[in-house]
Amino acid sequence: MSDDRKKGDAPVNGVNHSASDSDRGNGDGPELGVSRRDFLKGASVAVAGSMIGGGLLMKGVPAIAAPESKTVNIGFIEDLSGNLAVYGLQKYHAAQLAVAEINQGLTLAGGPVGVGGFASTGSQAGEPPKVRLDTASGEVKVAEQGGGDATSGILYGEDDEILVPSGEKGLLGKEVELTAPDGQSNNRLWQQLARKLIQQDKVDVLVAGFSSAEREAIRPIIDRNKQLYFYTNQYEGGVADEFTFCTGAVCEQQVIPVVQYMVENYGPRGFTIAADYNFGQLTAAWVRAYTPLVGGEIVGEEFVPLSVSQFSQVISKVQAAKPDWVMTLLVGQNQSNYYPQAAAAGLEFPMASTINMAQGYEHLRFNKPSLARMHNAINYMPEIPTARNRAFVKRFFEMFPEDPYLGQMAQNTYFSIHLYAKAARLAGTTDQDAVRRVLESGWTIEAPEGPVFLEPGTHHASHYIRMARADENHDISFVRDWPTVEAWWLQRLGVNLVGRPEHKQYTPQEDKFFPMLQKMAAK
């Protein structure tokens, strides 16, 4: 089979969204991917097929010799100390869980389904249950039973059990090992650590980064060394990088659902409070651009430097603007003080966000009812009351009973590491170039949130987005689902990393669509 990767071959009908039950299953799903995409230089379909179908993993490696090491080394940098440790530790623990499962011979269901992915429609339950996370037992408890019929059906049923045998303990006959230094919440250190992991420890894959600043600090080093890299955080979007896979949700996946929901349910007038740096400014730009499209308007914006922790003036501004709802894009420990302070000042506007609760678990940390009426379009929160997620949460808190929460970026890290292992297993090698090409064959993986599709051209993932709402007791209900929301913005800009490698981050200012929307808003 010739290398037709660059010709942009047409996708075959992507029918197999739920993929096979295990990597050693009947081979249908994976084989579709293999036959369509020649990711192994010179490897034949037959070899690839036998690798998967027969589980002859070690025999299927002749094309590319594996490195000498006895282990598969996953480089993993997060902040285990310093200001950002609260997030870094969650991610670190999720990574440890994934590695432990791989070494026990387990994997997440899923496989390559083709470049087109899958499509589905949303559902809306009549009255969803209210749930609450009990970290002591690792259980998601139902605080109040919902009821009523869903107003539209989910297109496909979810598998309850997503953790399936992989057919081998470890990966490619080797034990998987996590090399996890501490980034200490210090960007300058991050560069050194990335260099060490890549150049000295020669890790097979790098999974790293909480803040965008950390990612941008190490991305030049990654590009120069052609290092396979996963960035698992939810972020502002726009990274188009040949070697980087962004598995977290991005602005278009979260902002549009949440803005639409707020305008439909609470009224047209929104007020944005955002952290005054890249993430906050860009997400606020998305909010500003899309609110008019669903019939709303942004009546005021306030940007707050990251060091600010005292919000009385911001609160007064919101009061004066009298919005129907408030978009809070606040980041970090200092800024989360907004919630109790706003509640104490008597602010009762419904709130919307794309980050809060799902990362820093403000609803568990702050006293009730500071977070009442908070809405967040998330791809993951541990409260999601599906069977597959309950099982995942249980596994996590069994391994880390002391942990306070399991946030969205921890879940992303978890499935990303599983995804890497599956791709390497299919490639039959840990050769980074080969694994990267396998990853570019259109994978669906059954994550705790739901199915996630890794889009080859942009290296971004579609997500199962849910609207989480906190009530006065800080119990969570998921009031609306969007089972597949794609990260379409880079596609719109014409990014195709498979055909045309790039190494940059796009911002909305490069998209003519945005000024146009703002003009419409002005009218």
Binding site: L80, S81, G82, A85, A180, P181, D182, G183, Q184, N186, N187, R188, L189, Q191, Q192, L193, R195, K196, Q199, Q200, S211, S212, A213, E216, A217, R219, P220, D276, Y277, N278, Q281, L282, F303, P305, L306, S307, Q505, T507, Q509
Partner: protein
């Protein structure tokens, strides 16, 4: 000139020769990390001169570091078509920016005769203003020529050092950094072991008496402040040439305190001590963090406390009295 040199100056010279030899036997990765450890030395030496020798403590060295780094990025990033010129112009621009800020701010504090104990705080304020400002410069309105300032995420793709048409990485970069650091060290030795250095020491001991001897105290302090800023700027330029990247975080509270710590642990007045302490503490904190050790900060903190407390204890003083002159 040579008469005024002290034993420790020869020791530092030996140290540099050792580093140069070491650089020839290690691999590219080790050379590049060694380059990082030593590129902080000029900033530390500048602060040693400012604080140890002339008695003015500044928390603002990272402001000069950051400003020079950013300026290098802007200048070099706009001259991408001729990389050699870009690097040279970038270095000149970076150092000039640091100098201009130092003269302006130094004039402000020294000619205003601000009290000595306030200087560290006002320099810290200056640094935080700069960091907060840079943090919100995301977006296209913050574009200088072709270069985006990049906000909190930082400025990316800063061109590396380029000599005769080839970019410097790995070992070549290491030797370039080493040469620059040695030149900076020579400049400091020249300042400190001269009449200018004597005046600085006099200033530290008794500013009033120094003034009565006919020295312009304010000018001397401003000069010393400017030289220290230039050295910090050099470190900043070397840093962006090494990492091709800079964020406002390098002017944050934590980073602002680090040079002070290096110099304090290195006994402030000793150029040898400061050089060794800077390199050693950088190596140590990297070792601690790369082992994923959450106790890194605790160990670093304890080390500082011990380094400061031990000299105040009787037995340590007696010991150093036996070994030789107390620094």
């Amino acid at each position: 000139m040579f008469k005024r040199l002290q034993i420790e100056d020869y020791l530092v010279a030996l140290l540099w020769i050792g580093v140069a030899v070491y650089g020839s036997v290690i691999n590219d990765y080790a050379a590049s990390s060694t380059a990082y450890y030593i590129l902080n030395v000029p900033m530390a030496l500048g602060l040693a001169m400012l604080w140890g020798i002339s008695g003015v403590l500044s928390f603002g060295q990272v402001a000069f570091f950051g400003l020079a780094g950013y300026t290098y990025g802007i200048v070099a990033g706009n001259l991408l078509s001729s990389p050699g010129l870009a690097a040279v112009a970038g270095i000149a621009g970076g150092l000039a920016a640091a100098l201009v800020l130092a003269v302006a701010f130094g004039y402000f504090i020294f000619y205003g005769r601000v009290e000595a104990w306030i200087v560290p705080i006002v320099t810290l304020v200056m640094t935080l203003i700069l960091a907060t400002f840079m943090g919100q410069t995301a977006g296209y309105e913050w574009k200088v020529g072709e270069v985006l300032l990049g906000g909190y995420n930082g400025m990316t793709n800063i061109p590396p050092m380029n000599v005769f048409g080839s970019d410097l990485f790995g070992r070549a970069l290491f030797y370039y950094v080493l040469i620059a650091v040695v030149i900076a060290w020579l400049a400091v030795v020249l300042c400190v072991r001269s009449r200018f250095g004597d005046v600085l020491i006099a200033l530290r001991e008794d500013p009033l008496r120094t003034e009565l001897f006919g020295h312009d105290v304010r000018l001397m302090q401003l000069l010393c402040f400017s030289v220290a800023a230039l050295l910090a700027g050099l470190s900043g330029v070397l840093y962006v040439q090494w990492g091709n990247y800079i964020t406002p975080d390098s002017m944050g509270l934590l980073q602002a305190t680090l040079p002070v710590v290096w110099v304090a642990v290195g006994a402030r007045t000793s150029l040898l001590g400061v050089t060794v302490a800077t390199v050693a503490l950088n190596v140590l904190s990297f070792r601690l963090s790369s082992s994923g050790n959450q106790y890194a900060f605790v160990i670093l903190g304890a080390l500082l406390v011990v380094a400061m407390v031990v000299p105040t204890m009787g037995w340590a003083q007696r010991l150093s009295g036996l070994v030789g002159r107390r620094g």
